[in-house]
Amino acid sequence: MSGDASHETMRITLKVWRQSNAEADGRIETYHVSDVSPHMSFLEMLDVVNERLLGQGKDPIAFDHDCREGICGACSLMIDGRAHGPEAETTACQLHMRHYNDGDTIHVEPWRANAFPVVRDLVVDRSAFDRIIAAGGFVSTPAGSACDANSLPIAKENAELAMDAAACIGCGACVAACPNAAAMLFTSAKVAHLSLLPQGQPERDARVIAMVDAMDDEGFGNCTNHFECMAACPKGISVENIARMNREYLRASLVSRSVE
């Protein structure tokens, strides 16, 4: 780790997936980048490449990004085959070039999953996640109908566990990392968050069944316990949530009030 590296620069070779739209064939393009400062974020390094391409009248590399502080979940780069790159619990926007060495070659690709079609270059369509939430990832409480917040005490331990699960940023790294392209970490984080809280109880059974059905309908795979999702998750969401979702699903299937 460099203390004052403000004057050092590195040369990096990038191999980047380029694809002009969902239907087009993609290809890997090579870019040589000099003057990479170790203090740059990975996305700032891509900005530098794009400024150069634009200066030459060429198409810049499309990639999703917004807050650049690791919370919006927009950035979604597969870096050398790892979702968000080599650093644990770090989104691509928070990954800094000081973790690379002069002369390194880095491969950058989009998330790969049938349920996440490529829009352009490194940008994918993650609207499937919105549809999973729309199927049941909520508490039905219209504005104005709430009781006083302190009339519903919640054990601190449960509140903390719920918060651990609710920290999900919806980036999709779990899907990208999973050999089955499963969305079970994402879906289970929401199921766990709400099933741990009293507010979530009235819709507990319906929620888990609807969300799992939606997940399957979107074409995501299922969990076979590789735990790659947890390793890739920039927020450290635990696979214990998947166990909780499976238990919730089984329980809901057994106690479901509707008769098919």
Partner: protein, 644 residues
């Protein structure tokens, strides 16, 4: 530079009578829309942050037909998500003397007496409903062992009224509003349009009846007709290029509505947050905020000797200048944001700044760690320390953080009346996009409160007055008004592509940001503002001569999106400088060097400037017309803020 008109065009529609009854009385006086008729009205909600998501879901729950639009790939990513610290409410759960009146009082005073009393009181009243609503949605607020909600003091407040969810309060509140929105989407009561950018408001018979969007995936232009348009499109801090805002934050929707007749109020009111990670190089793309809660335990200092380049640990205590503690002995490191920011700039400008650039000051936890132990400090700030280390590679447990102020929030925005309706009838503006509640400076943990107040508990009532009180004949998207609005939007994009010059969009944006920071930043003066005004015009002319944006237009083209936003910032920046120039007083976040006390503190000029400045568009490059809405203080009497 500006012409002044009588303020007859502005009717704030504020109720009168005892302040605690005004909102109740107003709600009673508003006309209601019959439940069976609500489905006949179609509302277009632009933006899905706290204000937009809460408004869209609540209007749909009431039975209105709603279409919602966002520029991100999902409504869950709006920049409200990045708010760290918390949300204020007057619950008084800690039993420490808080009340609706005290929250109201603190907010009016904190805004340096440049906000409307009626609006602020209403905000304080509904703050309690917000906490109830969010808790009911399952927002995992911090709790005590007994299961009740936990509170903390924030931003120097004398009471503990801030609710929080670790350092991710904005995220959790937004995901709560987003879950309600998605529930309505799932029930087909809201139609959601993601990756859409609003490029114009369509007026029919003088009323906002639709919008023109560009589909950011395909590049196609789309028309949406409705019975009301609700803008929840956030603030314009990115006019400075470097800010704590997300990269996509922009002024485009607000600016284009302004061109259609919505007055823009107090554009110069900008909040500069004192505790951000400093700029490290010319490639810097954004700035990251470190929660102001750090000032509860961190001590701010610079070396006493100019240009002292020793490591912090090698500088003994008697050679350190704890300048906030020195200048403000009673508030010390907890002075309000604007005061702390200016003090840091003063030290750095005088040559005492630290780090390679000399543009930063130390925020030191050494004494707190010695006093409370490292584990206590880790429990309080662990996630923030980790974030700081990720970005800077410095470990704040061992060496002091380096911080510098950065643009964070914009109190100015489209002018709205008490109903949150702009001067363009049928166009409502919520959240940071409006100007209403914070005056010249916003208190910590109040932005989340205002966004959700507007969306959950104000607009759902006031929009009924528009539907029940105005004739709204059916309008189709085939109306000629849509033809001309679409042609304008298309034409602007096409003319950007046609320039085919030599400089990139980002180069123009960075140069605009430097100009704004230099002349319209933390301290402003007459000569600098006049200079900025001329330089902004020259830069705008150069943009239209020399920008280079590769096509094609009809595709996913992020550079073209950015170009359109920078083109609007270049027009808006001129208004910003004109507003800062006319306000020759200092107030809140707006510091005019000509108006300071003998001790160098901000000096208001109440006789001359107790008004909201609402600007009316007259054409690009033409001076705008200034309308003044007088501000009256019946309850909280204006006084000079003092933190000595």
């Amino acid at each position: 530079m500006a012409t002044t008109a009588a303020s007859t065009a502005l009717d704030s529609k504020c109720p009168t009578g005892p302040i605690e009854n005004r909102w109740d009385q107003h709600r009673f006086d508003l006309k209601l829309v019959n439940p069976a008729n609500k489905r006949k009205f179609h509302v277009l909600v632009v933006g899905t942050g706290l204000a937009g998501a809460s408004a869209a879901s609540t209007l749909a729950e009431l039975g209105y037909r709603v279409s919602a639009f966002c520029i991100q790939d999902s409504p869950r990513r709006a920049h409200s998500i990045a708010a760290q610290g918390g949300i204020n409410a007057a619950k008084n759960y800690p039993n420490d003397g808080d009340s609706i009146y005290r929250l109201f009082y603190d907010t009016v005073k904190g805004g340096d007496f440049r906000a409307r009393e009626s609006n602020v009181y209403r905000l304080a009243q509904v703050s309690n409903n917000i906490i109830d609503q969010c808790a009911a949605q399952g927002v995992p607020f911090a709790r005590e062992y007994g299961g009740v909600l936990s509170n903390r003091s924030f931003g120097g407040a004398q009471v503990s009224r801030t609710f929080y969810a670790r350092g991710q309060t904005g995220q959790q509140l937004l995901l709560g509003a987003y879950s309600s929105l998605m529930r309505m989407v799932g029930q087909k009561r809201v139609t959601m349009y993601s990756r859409r950018e609003m490029l114009d408001v369509v007026k029919v018979d003088g009323v906002a009846r639709g919008i023109i969007c560009r589909n950011l995936t395909t590049g196609e232009y789309e028309r949406f007709a409705g019975d009301a348009v609700v803008l929840c499109t956030g603030g314009y801090g990115n006019v400075f290029y470097l800010s704590t805002n997300a990269k996509a934050c922009n002024v485009t929707a607000a600016w284009r509505a302004h061109k259609q007749g919505a007055f823009f109020a107090n554009p110069c009111y900008t909040q500069i947050h004192p505790t951000c990670i400093p700029v490290s190089g010319s490639y810097q793309s954004k700035l990251t905020l470190m929660s102001e809660s750090l000032r509860n335990d961190g001590r701010v200092w610079v070396p006493k000797a100019k240009g002292d380049k020793r490591r912090a640990a090698d500088i003994p205590d008697d050679e350190r200048d704890y300048y906030l503690e020195r200048r403000y002995p009673s508030f010390g490191n907890l002075v309000p944001r604007d005061v702390a920011s200016r003090a840091a700039k003063e030290r750095c400008d005088a040559g005492y700044g630290v780090g390679a650039t000399g543009l930063s000051v130390f925020l030191d936890f050494r004494d707190a760690i010695q006093r409370d132990g490292i584990e206590t400090i880790r429990a309080k700030y662990g996630n923030l320390f980790q974030m700081y280390e990720k970005i800077t590679a410095d470990d704040p447990y061992r060496v002091p953080m380096r911080i510098y102020p950065a643009v964070h929030y914009t109190m100015g925005g489209l002018w709205v009346d008490y109903n949150l309706e702009s001067t363009l009838p049928g166009l409502f503006v919520l959240g940071e996009a409006n100007f209403s509640d914070h005056g010249a400076n916003r208190l910590g943990a109040s932005a989340l409160m205002q966004g959700l107040a507007d969306g959950y508990f104000v607009l759902p009532y006031t929009i009924g007055g528009h539907f029940a009180g105005r004739a709204l004949p059916a309008v189709q998207a085939s109306d000629p008004a849509f033809d001309s609005a679409e042609a304008t939007a298309r034409g602007r994009t096409d003319s950007i592509l046609a320039v085919n010059g030599s400089r990139t969009v980002d180069a123009f944006h960075r140069e605009l940001g430097r100009l704004m920071w230099e002349h319209c930043g933390m301290a402003r003066n007459d000569a600098g503002l006049r200079r900025a005004h001329d330089d902004i015009r020259a830069l705008r002319e150069e943009f239209w001569q020399d920008v280079r944006v590769p096509g094609p237009a009809a595709s996913f083209n992020q550079n073209l999106e950015h170009a359109g936003r920078v083109a609007d910032f270049l027009e808006f920046a001129e208004l910003f400088s004109a507003d800062a120039l006319q306000r020759t007083e200092s107030c809140g976040g707006h510091f005019r060097e000509e108006s300071q006390t003998d001790e160098g503190e901000a000096q208001r000029q109440d006789d001359e400037f107790s008004f909201a400045a609402a600007w009316e568009f007259q054409g690009v490059g033409e001076p705008e017309t200034l309308h003044k809405e007088p501000l009256e203080f019946e309850y909280v009497k204006p006084s000079q803020r003092s933190y000595k």
